[in-house]
Each structure stands twice: as structure tokens, then as C-alpha cells.
């Protein structure tokens, strides 16, 4: 009888101790902070651009980026703040930094815009801009 009580007590304690760990959201390394209303947009690789070399590829990339930037403005109402032309020319993937004033003020709009752009078959990936700690110096003496 006594051993049964001890066993149940131990099980109870284990369940109490473990539950918060399971329920709590996973603690992420390198604390991050999303910058509202700022996004990195990546289009899929265009082989039609990569078949060219040198000045021809630069020209083809410029046309591709113009069209993609216009698409983002018209379709989603975002401002194209920066175009990564060197990366785009090298990889054939259009890459843009865009902002949305409304999304800066509303988490709902931020999430809606993110969801809409991600569902777009012409877009490969969209990442909200995030600040992250990226360097660390170990503190433990070895």
C-alpha cells in the first residue's frame, strides 16, 4: 500500500514538472524581433536569364526585375525599396526588399500580406525582415 502511494506520488510529481516544458513554446536560440512591414521577396530561378552571359545577361536581368517589381507594386501595393540586381543576375532569381505602410501598423495586415504573397505561384519565398543576434563569444573558460 505504502509503495503504491509512493509510486503515484512520484508519477504525479513527474507529470507536474514535465507539463510546463511540453506546453510552453519552444525557446528559440538567438532571440529575434520581426520588423513590421518589411519583407524580402524571392522569385523562382529564370533559366531564360541564365542562358545569357555578360552584358546580355545584365540586360535580361534588368528587364526581369522591372517586370517583377511592377508586379509586386500592382498586385500587393507594396513599395519596392531595393532590388538585389547582382544576386539576381548571378542566380537568375529576382530578389527584392519591399515595405508596406499598412503592415507596419497592423499585425493582421502583416500576416494577411505574408499569406497572400506566399500563396502566389509566381513567388518562391517571402520572409519578414527580422533582427537577430548573429555573433556570440563563448563565456565559459575552457
Amino acid at each position: 500500500m505504502k509503495s503504491t502511494v509512493i509510486l503515484f506520488s512520484v508519477l504525479f510529481l513527474i507529470s507536474v514538472l514535465c507539463f510546463p516544458l511540453q506546453a510552453a513554446e519552444k525557446a528559440k536560440p538567438a532571440e529575434s524581433r520581426v520588423i513590421q512591414g518589411e519583407f524580402l521577396v524571392l522569385f523562382p530561378e529564370r533559366q531564360a536569364v541564365l542562358v545569357f552571359e555578360g552584358k546580355e545577361r545584365a540586360a535580361a536581368t534588368a528587364v526581369m526585375l522591372d517586370m517583377q517589381a511592377e508586379y509586386l507594386k500592382v498586385r500587393y501595393g507594396v513599395s519596392v525599396e531595393n532590388t538585389f540586381s547582382a544576386i539576381s543576375e548571378t542566380t537568375g532569381k529576382g530578389m527584392f526588399f519591399v515595405t508596406c505602410e499598412k503592415a507596419k501598423e497592423s499585425v493582421e495586415i502583416q500576416e494577411k500580406l505574408l499569406g497572400d504573397m506566399r500563396a502566389d505561384p509566381f513567388i518562391e519565398a517571402v520572409s519578414p525582415n527580422e533582427v537577430r543576434k548573429m555573433i556570440s563569444v563563448p563565456v565559459k573558460p575552457q
Partner: protein
């Protein structure tokens, strides 16, 4: 006179040693021997003399050797200018230095080899001691990392070049540091780089981390001040993507990589870029997967432009292949790494190299992340002295410090072999590591950076193109080693 004779003996022994041992590595590797400098019109010959007979004084024996040497030399159109009587009295072989003012070395050697009394004849090769800088931290022994990577012998071949650019994507560089100013480069717009955090042209370091990294790659060497970098001469560019606390956003990081790609594309001779930074991300999270995609595309662009991109494995005490949960990082016990990978360390683009750390005992410090799948090699990363943003010097630990040894090595190799591609230079670095059991199964190459080996390039890297794909060569021998005791046990039974 006796001193002169000793000097001649020493010189002759050194020459003989070179003569005997120099060809061995070249033959072993199946490569053409390295062309060595020699003194024009001089040859070292070995003449069989026999041991001095009883009753013969040292002076008489020396006289006999001199006469025989003079005779041989004159028959070949030269004159004997030094003998080694002490060596001959022990070995029965006289090493003679023959000089001719009329004949070339090749002609003199041909004539000498015709004489049956001459056992062998070789050019009088010049021997230099390894170049060592006079920087006080080096001469004081604090720069153990340079010795560990065999930089002094590599410096015989090259100490770097201002024609080669190396970019530091970090917290900036204190570009007016006395030990860095001479090696700061200017980009195509005439700037030291760019500050993407503040959006201006002044990439001054406000943290110290970037300046430390820069000093390892290229603090001015042999300038009688502070430390020496892997490159005594190089053109450093600062791309500030992190703030004074070492934080940065994905946009700034991608912008920094865009800068490198753009400068390289437009003709700047950028051969190496250093990213002593990283962040753990979860690919199953949509936001993080997108960030990984953006970073990967940007890193790929740099790699595809032919820039070696050295990245740190990180300091979270993790086996990247099997990251731990809470309490697995004693510095941050609340962090859970399960299901995540560190980026950009985990990318596998062709010209990327992921770097873990070793300490002065050539072991991986506990903090240094590792993986035979994602991490290529190790480099010195504990107790590393380098330049700091306060204008002085600081000792830091971390894979952040190991990574610039590799970026620096890439820049130095590009200076020594300017026509080689990034892929060839990467192969030199990864194929010629100093292997150690401490790193077997820990990093893909099973070793740590060997700059001299990379310069001589006596091995080849067959570990594949990318971090993610380089596990096979290291993993197979490691697993076989693990199975060996089991096999022996079964066999005995």
C-alpha cells in the same frame, strides 16, 4: 680557420640534406619537384676518401683531401673552394664545394659527373629559414595559431598581396587601427566598404568583433607592431551588417552579400569573404524557411562569382547533426536547438567553407559546433590575439576567430596562385589539412587548417563540393574505425 671549416661543414651538411631529402615529397606525390634557387656556377660533390689511416695527422689528412678535391675540380674546369675534413674523418666521404667562373652550373655538374671519383654532384641550393615577422605578439609567442597552421613556412612562398581583396561581413572594421590601416582596401567607389546597419559609407566598428576578425586575416605583418595576420599584405574591405551588440537583420545581411557580388561582378578582385556570424533557424517554420531561402540565394551568388566564403560553425556547444535541447548550451541553458540548423554554416554552395575551432592542444573546444556533414575543417579559435576596435589588441575565443584563418588562407593562396579558381583554392585548403584523431568524425576533412600544405598542395580534396555533401569520405573511415573493435571481438570469439 677552424670556424671557417665548421661553417663549411655545416653548409655542406645542409646542402647534402637538401640533396638527399628534397626530392622525396615530390616523388611521393607524383608531382614535378619544386624549382629551387641555387648559387650559379657552384656544385657540391661527394668524393669517396676512405677513413684516415693510423699515424696520419688531421693536418696531413686535410692536405690529402684538399689536393684530391683540387684535382677533381680542375679537371672539371673549376676550383675547390671548401672541403669537409671533419665529416670525411668520420664517414670516409668528403663533401667538396666546387666553383667555376666560366661554366654554368649545369656544365660544371656535367663535367664533374664524368669523373668516376665523384659519387654525386648537385647544385649548391640556397637554403632560407622560414620567414617570421617581427611583430611583438608573434615573437612573444602569443600567436600560436599561426604556428599551428604552419604559416611561417607558407610565408616563404607568399605573404599575401594588396591586389587580393578580402571582405569582412561583420560589425565593421576600425579602419584606422595602426596595424590595419596599411591593409585597408578601397572598393570600386573608393570606399572602405559599406555600413548597411546605418546606411552610410562609414563601416567603422563599434563592437570589436569585426576588427578582431580583420586582424587575423590581414593585420600588417613584419611592421614591428602588434600582431601579424595570415596575410602581411592584403586589401581588406569592411561590410558592416551587424550593430554594436552583434545583432543584425536579414535584409542587412543579404545587402552585404549583394555588395560583395556586385563589386566582384564589376571587376574588383575579391577572392575571399568572411562571415563569422550565424543564426539557428527552423526550416519547418514558414518565416524561417523563407529567410533561409533568401540567405541561401545570396550566399550562392557570392559563391558563384568565385569568392571563397568562409563561415563559422557557431559557438553553441552543438553536434549540428544532432542538436540538443534545453541545457545543452551551458552559456544559454534555456535554448532548444532540436529541429534547427545554424545558417549560413549549414549551406552547401560550391565555394563555401564551414569552420570549427581548435585550441592550442589541437582539440575542439567544447563550445565549437561540429559535424562531419556540415563542417569542413577546424582552425585556431581559442586564445586568439588580434586587433580590436579600441585601437589596441584583445584575446578572444570562438569559431568567429577560427573562420578568418581560413578566409585569410584563401586570400594568401589567391595571391600565390592568382590564376587558380576558387574551387582549386578551396581544394588546396580542404585537401591538405593536418589530420588528427581529435577531429576524425568531427569535421569532414578530419583535420585543421595547414597553410603550408595548401601552398605545396601535395594532397587532393575528394570530399565533394558542399558542406552538406562532404560527409562520405570522413564518415566512412570513422564508422569503420568504430566497427573495428567489434569485429576483432567477434573474430576472437
Amino acid at each position: 680557420m677552424e670556424g671557417d671549416m665548421k661553417m663549411r661543414d655545416l653548409r655542406a651538411w645542409l646542402a647534402a640534406a637538401v640533396l638527399l631529402f628534397l626530392p622525396l615529397p615530390a616523388l611521393a606525390s607524383g608531382q614535378a619537384p619544386v624549382k629551387r634557387e641555387h648559387v650559379p656556377g657552384e656544385a657540391i660533390i661527394v668524393v669517396e676518401t676512405g677513413l684516415p689511416g693510423k699515424g696520419l695527422s688531421a693536418q696531413q689528412f686535410g692536405g690529402m683531401l684538399s689536393a684530391a678535391a683540387a684535382n677533381i675540380a680542375s679537371q672539371a674546369g673549376g676550383r675547390s673552394v671548401g672541403i669537409t675534413s671533419s665529416i670525411a674523418s668520420v664517414t670516409g666521404k668528403n663533401l667538396v664545394l666546387v666553383r667555376s667562373s666560366e661554366k654554368t652550373t649545369e656544365e660544371l655538374l656535367a663535367e664533374l659527373r664524368k669523373n668516376p671519383a665523384v659519387q654525386s654532384a648537385a647544385p649548391n641550393y640556397r637554403i632560407r629559414l622560414s620567414r617570421t615577422p617581427n611583430d611583438p605578439y608573434y615573437t612573444g609567442g602569443q600567436l600560436w595559431g599561426m604556428t599551428a597552421i604552419k604559416a611561417p613556412t607558407a610565408w616563404d612562398t607568399s605573404v599575401g598581396s594588396k591586389n587580393v581583396f578580402a571582405v569582412v561581413l561583420d560589425t565593421g572594421i576600425k579602419y584606422d587601427h595602426p596595424d590595419l590601416a596599411a591593409n585597408m582596401g578601397r572598393d570600386l567607389e573608393g570606399n572602405y566598404g559599406y555600413d548597411y546597419h546605418n546606411g552610410d559609407l562609414d563601416p567603422m566598428d563599434d563592437n570589436g568583433h569585426g576588427t578582431h576578425v580583420a586582424g587575423i586575416i590581414g593585420a600588417a605583418g613584419n611592421n614591428d607592431a602588434g600582431v601579424a595576420g595570415v596575410n602581411w599584405a592584403v586589401s581588406l574591405l569592411a561590410v558592416k551588417v551587424l550593430d554594436d551588440e552583434g545583432s543584425g537583420d536579414i535584409y542587412d545581411l543579404v545587402s552585404g552579400l549583394e555588395y560583395v557580388t556586385d563589386q566582384k561582378r564589376r571587376g574588383l578582385n575579391i577572392r575571399a569573404a568572411n562571415m563569422s556570424l550565424g543564426v539557428w533557424l527552423d526550416r519547418s517554420n514558414a518565416n524561417e524557411a523563407a529567410a533561409i531561402n533568401a540567405m541561401s540565394t545570396a550566399c550562392r551568388a557570392v559563391s558563384d562569382q568565385g569568392v571563397i566564403l568562409a563561415v563559422a560553425s557557431g559557438n553553441e556547444y552543438q553536434d549540428i547533426d544532432n542538436p540538443g535541447g534545453y541545457f545543452s548550451n551551458p552559456d544559454k541553458m534555456w535554448e532548444d536547438y532540436r529541429g534547427m540548423l545554424p545558417y549560413p554554416a549549414a549551406f552547401s554552395h560550391p565555394n563555401m567553407i564551414t569552420v570549427s575551432a581548435i585550441n592550442s592542444s589541437y582539440r575542439r573546444p567544447d563550445f565549437a559546433n561540429y559535424s562531419p556533414r556540415y563542417v569542413h575543417l577546424a582552425a585556431p579559435g581559442q586564445g586568439i590575439w588580434s586587433t580590436y576596435h579600441n585601437g589596441g589588441y584583445e584575446e578572444l575565443n570562438g569559431t568567429s576567430m577560427a573562420t578568418p584563418y581560413v578566409a585569410g588562407a584563401a586570400a594568401l593562396l589567391a595571391a600565390a596562385f592568382p590564376s587558380e579558381s576558387a574551387g582549386q583554392i578551396r581544394s588546396r585548403i580542404l585537401g591538405n589539412v593536418t589530420k588528427t584523431s581529435n577531429l576524425s568524425g568531427i569535421v569532414a576533412s578530419g583535420g585543421y587548417l595547414n597553410l603550408d600544405g595548401a601552398v605545396k598542395n601535395e594532397q587532393t580534396w575528394d570530399g565533394g563540393d558542399g558542406g552538406g555533401g562532404c560527409s562520405a569520405t570522413a564518415a566512412v573511415p570513422a564508422s569503420l574505425l568504430l566497427l573495428l573493435p567489434l569485429g576483432l571481438l567477434l573474430w576472437k570469439k
